[in-house]
């Protein structure tokens, strides 16, 4: 870009303002030179930044933001507090050290949370989340979601038998909205909307066709809250008319609990006042709803401290559980502990990834150094020709090279055929060279070798041959001249190539997936498995974060040692 627009239009110096000796140096327009220069520089910087800005924004949005989003997933734990909001709050005061499961209020909260989750079909998602931390919880939540509407069956039947209006959807609608023209209170509706949106992640905006009555909301807050949730869900999600739909059992259970606990019905004269009073008198004669026993009846896991320890430990919005899992640890009885022997896999996978990357890196150095040396010391024309043999694999599709190795290494493949033909192995004793570590190492060494040769070559071609000749003429042997004079100068090339190859190797996915079998896979393959098959995205994100950290440290080192500006391609 040109620099012509940076300086402002020159202005003729004013007639009377002859430069004085004490003044700082002035530019043509009379401003001090220093400020003028600073302004020019600032304009230049600004222009450079404006040229960079589109790309920077593009990369930030399409690439950096997704990665940050994924990193966030590794600690995020919204699903538990969003699905069991009341339970998580209620269980806060409970401690597993007490030696018994939490009290009735916690189970009552669990009942309401689970009921809604089951209606919205979100309880299985919670089950699979908690199953990562405590095996078996998935089926507990599935069966509990199915049977949760049986809780308090006796009391519900008694209420329905008392007066048939309790089975009437229109009666409920009138009771909850306070009849026509009654003062409304939108607060419960707003709370219900928040609850549903957090639970489902969907938008519950829009008209529910229902506004809770102010009077009834004051007397029976929980019932109104439950009914509002029911109303919103029915109107928005099911698309039905609230006044013509029978309310959920959870609403009736909330009502029974509230009137039993002595809701103040004395001053109430809105719709259904008589029925409410009758129900209160009836409920007084009924036994309490035993939520704890009911849940223990559905699944005995609810009667175990371990279940509640998991819920209480993973109730927060953030969790370290995925990272602990990625390090083969868990949040056990006595704090953080190692997982059982048969569940440890990730530390081994990380070790294997590191080990195989190191082997591949070492193999690349061994094979790459002689070639780079040869290319750097041959005449230009020959070197350029031979360089094509290095660049062609570099330009060839990764899948082509991987499939070529699959063809070569198979038991019925080219290499085995040649060996059998030469009589080195019998036809029955064909070598197994694929679907194991050997196959992965050979194929990846071949694929990454150009990335080693190219940086080595660019360093070696700058080493003057005269140094070695001088060493030789001073009496050094061939080996001494190489080892003491040439090799130290080529070390930067080895460093650059090794870091590059290592960075690329530890994140490899395709080649290990295709030729690695079970013993030659990397941590990347496990990440892919958790994303597409087991759907444990948090764990995938935690494993990815660890891998990414390792790569970024290496990247930083590469930048320090080589400088990213000095990366050369071909």
């Amino acid at each position: 870009m040109s620099d012509m627009t940076t300086t402002s239009q020159p202005v003729a110096p004013k007639p009377g303002a002859a430069p004085q000796v004490a003044d700082p140096m002035l530019a043509a327009d009379g401003t001090p030179l220093k400020r003028s220069l600073a302004r020019a520089l600032r304009a230049q910087k600004l222009r450079a930044l404006m040229l960079i800005a589109p790309l920077l924004i593009f990369v930030l949005v399409t690439f950096i933001a997704p990665i940050l989003d994924m990193l966030f997933r590794s600690v995020e734990n919204q699903v538990v507090p969003n699905t069991l909001p009341q339970t998580v709050v209620a269980v806060e005061g409970w401690s597993p050290d007490a030696g018994e499961t939490p009290g009735e209020p916690v189970f009552e909260a669990l009942y309401h949370d689970l009921f809604l989750a089951a209606e919205a079909k979100r309880h299985t998602r919670l089950g699979s989340r908690l199953n990562y931390e405590h095996a078996g919880l998935s089926s507990v939540f599935r069966s509990s979601g199915r049977k949760v509407d049986d809780v308090g069956e006796v009391q519900l039947d008694a209420l329905d038998a008392l007066d048939k209006s309790w089975k009437d959807s229109g009666f409920w609608y009138a009771l909850m909205s306070g009849g026509e023209g009654a003062a409304g209170d939108t607060a419960p509706l707003k709370a219900a909307r928040g609850r549903l949106e957090r639970l489902t992640g969907e938008n519950f905006g829009g008209d529910a066709g229902f506004v809770p009555g102010q009077e009834i909301a004051r007397i029976l807050p929980r019932t109104v809250a439950e009914y509002s949730t029911f109303a919103l869900f029915t109107a928005i999600d099911d698309g039905k008319e609230v006044a013509r739909t029978k309310p959920w059992e959870a609403v009736k259970v909330a009502l029974i609990q509230e009137i039993k606990r002595g809701a103040d019905l004395a001053g109430y004269d809105g719709p259904g006042a008589a029925e409410l009073r009758a129900a209160r008198d009836m409920a007084a004669g009924q036994p309490d709803i035993d939520f704890k026993a009911a849940f223990a009846d559905i699944d005995e896991a609810w009667d175990e401290i371990a279940t509640w320890r998991t819920i209480s430990a993973y109730g927060g919005h953030f969790t370290s559980g995925y990272f602990l899992n990625a390090a083969d640890m868990q949040n056990g009885v006595d704090g953080i502990e190692a997982r059982p022997e048969n569940q440890r896999i990730y530390v081994m996978l990380f070790q294997r990834t590191l080990f195989m990357s190191l082997v591949i890196c070492g193999a690349c150095i061994l094979l790459g150094y002689p070639v780079a040396f040869l290319l750097a010391n041959l005449p230009m024309r020959t070197a350029n020709l031979l360089m094509i043999l290095v660049l062609l694999p570099f330009w060839t599709s990764l899948l082509v090279r991987t499939s070529a190795w699959k063809v070569m290494l198979q038991q019925q493949g080219v290499i085995n055929d040649v060996l059998v033909w030469l009589g080195l192995v019998g036809d029955t004793g064909r070598l197994v060279m694929i679907n194991n570590q050997f196959g992965t190492i050979v194929a990846m060494t071949h694929i990454l070798l150009p990335f080693m040769i190219l940086p080595m070559y660019s360093v070696m071609s700058t080493i003057p041959q005269t140094y070695v000749r001088a060493a030789r003429s001073l009496g050094a042997t061939n080996w001494t001249a190489f080892w003491r004079v040439y090799f130290p100068q080529s070390v930067p090339g080895i460093g650059a190539g090794s870091i590059l190859v290592f960075i690329l190797a530890i994140g490899y996915y395709i080649t290990p997936e295709l030729v690695g079998g079970t013993t030659g896979t990397f941590i990347s393959n496990r990440i892919a498995y958790h994303i597409s098959s087991s759907l444990n995205w948090g764990l995938a994100a935690a494993l990815g974060s660890i891998l990414l950290t390792a790569v970024l440290i290496l990247y930083w080192a590469y930048d320090r040692i080589v400088g990213i500006d000095n990366v050369k391609l071909g």
């Binding site: 012509m4 990369v59 997933r73 330009w395 899948l399 071909g570």
Partner: protein, 396 residues
């Protein structure tokens, strides 16, 4: 003025040449013998044959008879090959004859020292050639997998290995049926069109954003240059599986997952580092006084860019574009996650083919892709040389 070069080429005694030739002959005979399933006979026959040939050529006949002797050796070996292995044997025989005709004189006349320093000891000479052979083997390792795929793609059978009929060069053993399958199978055709639809658009995005940014980055006063550079290069460094996972989650939220534009944007992001690297490398040698001169002569910045700067950095821009293109064209991990069945690209189809039912059509596709990469590589090399010539960096 005559230049005098010290050379150390002299005829070697037969006591040196004949054992060396016999050893080489034995080694070659091993392969011939293996093909006839009598390895020991092969080794012995090869050693004797070469020793006799060497004796005839070096001891009996004059050095000036070199040409007829070499033709004779070639004819002899070709005939032997024809008898043993038909057409394929004939070709191998001609190659062997050509090589050994040359080799006999190379060893016997001491020509192997022609390009070496005259004071090297025999051990150093051996070391030199051992090193060359090692390098040759490494080049062999680099290129063989790519070369092996090509003939296999013409296999008439659905095998991944050379059939006896192929080895005998029987035309019946070869066919174009895998290519025909590639060009008629709707799965492969759809994949090809998807690749062709995605890669150019992604390349266009990377090149246009990348070139502008590279120009910005190459100016002298850029704040946070190192940090910006690190961010822009990161798509090349971050493991693809992490990029793919991140994009999968993030693009699902934006509704881009499983759409054409999602894949294009992802591929454009992956191609950007290559454009930045190649274009900034070209700009290093760019003479800034040219833009000042253009400005001085009254050109506005846009004219200066298109008429002065762009033609000079064009080779870098094009090779960056080719890199971005091949990145998108070869990419499989990100498209597996970000794309849906509607965006199934060629590498994706190959990946499925390799993982599930391995069909030889893959080899035909591989051969076509290798041909494409040869074309791209040649273009990039020519551009690089042209750019260096423009900047006066290289003598060639």
């Amino acid at each position: 003025m005559a230049t005098y070069t010290l050379r150390y080429v002299e005829k070697k005694p037969l006591s040196f040449s004949l054992p060396v030739l016999a050893a080489a002959g034995g080694f070659a005979g091993l392969f011939v013998g293996a093909a006839q399933s009598t390895m020991l006979n092969g080794i012995a026959g090869g050693a004797v044959l070469l020793a006799v040939l060497g004796f005839l050529a070096l001891g009996v006949l004059d050095e000036r008879r070199e040409k007829p002797v070499r033709w004779g050796v070639m004819a002899l070996m070709a005939a032997g090959g024809w008898i043993m292995g038909g057409l394929a044997g004939l070709i191998v025989g001609i190659a062997f004859g050509w090589f050994f005709g040359w080799f006999v004189y190379w060893i016997g006349e001491g020509r192997y020292r022609a390009h070496l320093l005259p004071y090297l000891t025999p051990g150093q000479v051996l070391g030199h050639y051992a090193f060359r052979v090692t390098c040759g083997l490494i080049f062999f390792f680099l290129i063989t997998p790519i070369v092996v795929v090509m003939p296999l793609s013409f296999n008439a059978e659905n095998f991944f290995t050379f059939t006896p009929r192929m080895l005998a060069l029987d035309p019946e053993g070869f066919s174009l049926k895998h290519y025909r399958d590639f060009f008629t199978n709707p799965d492969w055709q759809q994949a090809l069109w998807n690749s062709v639809a995605i890669a150019p658009v992604a390349t266009f995005l990377s090149v246009s954003f990348g070139t502008l940014a590279a120009i910005g980055l190459s100016s002298e006063h850029v704040p946070f240059r190192r940090a910006i550079m690190a961010v822009l290069i990161s798509p090349m460094i971050v493991p693809l599986i992490i990029s793919a996972a991140g994009m999968y989650f993030f693009y699902s939220r934006l509704g881009l997952q499983g759409t054409y534009w999602g894949v294009v944007l992802a591929h454009a992001a992956l191609g950007i580092p290559f454009v930045i690297i190649t274009v900034t490398a070209t700009l290093v040698g760019f003479d800034r006084s040219l833009t000042r001169a253009a400005a001085n002569l009254g050109a506005n910045p846009v004219t200066t860019f298109f008429r002065v700067q762009m033609p000079l950095i064009l080779p870098g821009v094009i090779s960056g574009g080719l890199f971005a293109f091949i990145t998108s064209f070869d990419e499989v991990v990100v498209v597996l996650f970000v794309g849906s069945a509607g965006q199934k690209t060629l590498p994706w189809q190959m990946f499925i083919g390799l993982r599930e039912q391995i069909s030889p059509t893959i080899l035909a596709v591989a051969t076509i892709l290798v041909a494409i990469s040869i074309v791209l590589l040649t273009t990039v090399e020519m551009l690089r040389r042209r750019s260096e010539r423009l900047r006066g960096l290289s003598p060639g």
